[in-house]
Symmetry: C3
Subunit: 348 residues, 3 copies
Amino acid sequence: MKTSTGRFFEDFRLGEVIRHATPRTVTAADAALYSALYGTRFAVQSSDVLAAQIGYERSPLDDLLVFHVVFGKTVPDISLNAVANLGYAEGRFLRSVYPGETLSAVSEVIGLKENSNGKTGVVYVRTRGLRSDGAEVLEYVRWVMVKKRDEAASVADQHVPQLADSVEPSHLGIGCPPIDVEVYDFGLAGSPWRWGDFRIGERIDHVDGMTVEEAEHQLATRLYQNTARVHFDQHAATGSRFGRRLIYGGHVISLARALSFNGLGNAFHIAAINGGRHVAPLFAGDTVYCWSEVIDTAELEGRSDMGALRLRTIATKNLPCAGFPGHNGTEYDPAVVLDLDYWALLPR
Amino acid sequence: MKTSTGRFFEDFRLGEVIRHATPRTVTAADAALYSALYGTRFAVQSSDVLAAQIGYERSPLDDLLVFHVVFGKTVPDISLNAVANLGYAEGRFLRSVYPGETLSAVSEVIGLKENSNGKTGVVYVRTRGLRSDGAEVLEYVRWVMVKKRDEAASVADQHVPQLADSVEPSHLGIGCPPIDVEVYDFGLAGSPWRWGDFRIGERIDHVDGMTVEEAEHQLATRLYQNTARVHFDQHAATGSRFGRRLIYGGHVISLARALSFNGLGNAFHIAAINGGRHVAPLFAGDTVYCWSEVIDTAELEGRSDMGALRLRTIATKNLPCAGFPGHNGTEYDPAVVLDLDYWALLPR
Amino acid sequence: MKTSTGRFFEDFRLGEVIRHATPRTVTAADAALYSALYGTRFAVQSSDVLAAQIGYERSPLDDLLVFHVVFGKTVPDISLNAVANLGYAEGRFLRSVYPGETLSAVSEVIGLKENSNGKTGVVYVRTRGLRSDGAEVLEYVRWVMVKKRDEAASVADQHVPQLADSVEPSHLGIGCPPIDVEVYDFGLAGSPWRWGDFRIGERIDHVDGMTVEEAEHQLATRLYQNTARVHFDQHAATGSRFGRRLIYGGHVISLARALSFNGLGNAFHIAAINGGRHVAPLFAGDTVYCWSEVIDTAELEGRSDMGALRLRTIATKNLPCAGFPGHNGTEYDPAVVLDLDYWALLPR
């Protein structure tokens, strides 16, 4: 058969390295579409002039756009038969990506664990995003629950990898060039708040809300060449559990990140993703809100230009976040859709 | 608090100059998105070859795209707490904007007038759009009704500025390079009608209609980095007066302008906006139609290449314009959504 | 009257050559939008690096994007008053189109046949897409049923042209540069199947489905500057036969082509369109599926790098294609929306 229907759990082998298809040259057009899809306003990613003045070649592509393009390539090989995207860890943004560069992706299977029901298993992959000259721009681990084709099939080597709770501060910053903070224009950036103005435990309600339409998440997810059918096929969805197309989880992350500009306007670079959970599905017509908590701060070794904030950003659907809805120790507020833990860099 | 909730009426000071955030490098991608959003067909903005042949460096960005990008920057500072966008005046397009240029915006508060109810006031600003080298590309005055945070707050200096009814013909044309009309190809432009073919009082029904979807106006308005929540937050809108997201007024202007190609195909440059009123809100699902009346004509000082038409373009929702619905002296036809008065240039 | 309402049947003259308006410079932004609209994954059109390695200057624009841009220009002159788009023939893609090139279109009226009801007639045009230096990039014949303005009007010269059932293999391949197949990376391309792996009679279910939203087809069709009002005007559509906006037939072709990547991943170039029928209309909310049959194979004269497959691709709405729904000899399965016959090239 010439058509691919994707791998099932028993098709994966521990240690296997999968080179994903469809390299993609990213351009200023991807950046413009990203703006149109999320309304992002970080000045470094918006103005070539400002970016060049502070130390970039020109405006780099948004870190999450790079993430989505790399992630999208992995879908046909890793998660076409996924039941759920369970989590992310050890995500690191290693290099600025500029318009005109060509990206591809490679994944290593680092863990396999069959579920006791015999119907599914969890696949752990470490994915690396590569520039055409081989330079690594991104890496992250994700784990997904994947269906078995045949319940009787056995999986030889099982292994659950040890993953770091968070990326060590000593590993942060490589993806950010030296920044000339004297030249960085806090007025044009839209926020006066520097790294040193934030305190551990501080909570920020990002106030604004954004309603998502079917056309929007489909345009985004196709732009990333992500082929997971749950996002696109209403005919099939009609008979499914939710009866609706599911919005790509990365779309929610990008919406929350764009909304977080209001309060975190100088956090222009994501250095690392420590972890992330898509707590509940988002559907077209839902309105996304979010809030963040500063859960740690870190200096960057040998750098006085930028500092890191470890942020936990919680996104909700149809619930403004003035009350900071989250996890009460037992369970999530039913409005929560995303719980993301990441390191962002801000000028000092 | 690190989050901005925008200025209220009593936060403005007469004469204050506000430098807006988020400079933006505009590219050919913005032009392509603009085409996809409105279907504009003016040849000069569509073909680099044709534009270069007649005197431009290459295709300039659509004048209204430049307007929206500049306007968008002002929203977080000027109109986040606006009740209504009341009007525009003294708008002038001063320079062609090309892909790769970076735009920013500065506004001066030129008028403040508290309303007698003590709950709102009118803020007048003169906004200038600037290229990164400081060259001015656009300026216009707009006035908006803004809420007071505190009804008891007093506003020291009040002033209502004198604004011109229309931009003087002697001020037109600076935004248009010398055009080689011998080379301008009326066939490729799609219309045989030159400046001299239009007469004062002539009315043109632009015939076609365009239905607007939520995804479309949201993509557009985010592309312009316009953050007014009324355009994006259905959850909040559900409990509001209209129960719906409001479509950015500039989206209606661009739709009307694109539709006006049918009849005004050679009016490729907007030289000035004399005035404009968003007479009624537009919602997703509505179909926009429009018609125009030539209300004046003018030669351009020292130029024999181009002439100016002063046009009044009326846009309606869900009502074709063969009957030229407008203002009957007492009130607008209930279908009217936009009443725009502008100067456009055409080859002579 | 300055507004165009399009030509009616009696306005066409046999042999007439119509130069269409609005040349358009296509850019990488059109390619990105095309990706976002259809999710296409052919590696040659996605990666400048891969394209340059095998023999292109860089990633060419998708052949169908070029087709849509050329087609769009013809609409205001040919099919504004069309009742139905009846067919295509003798379509040939003659040259790679790269970002930055400017396209225009010219059509010759090659056939006219009044229908016996006296209310409509069929217009046959041969359209050529041209680069600004005059090089031809595309040509095709289409025929449309057009309304008469005046039932009493007579049409002097009537003629039904003889059209080829299919494009001869000797005419294929001119639009594809010599490909270095040694360098072509089947892994990055996402499919191991070469030209020689396909057999006449082989059927491929492309598996995936894609639901279309109003905003999506409107964005696409405006991007192509196609002005047919049936795609855009819901107010007018409400009183019409279908009560809905009709989706541009080319949108369906592009969806089917993008879905066909799953099974035909190396068929990166469309060499010719032998014929095509829009069997039934598609509406927003419908989900498109498709399958293909290999109906012929051909070597290319003097070339050992690439071979041609003649494919018949059938697209359906709301019916997955595992059962290969098509034409039973008497009639089409009611789910079929498109029956397309084309030649694609694959590496040998």
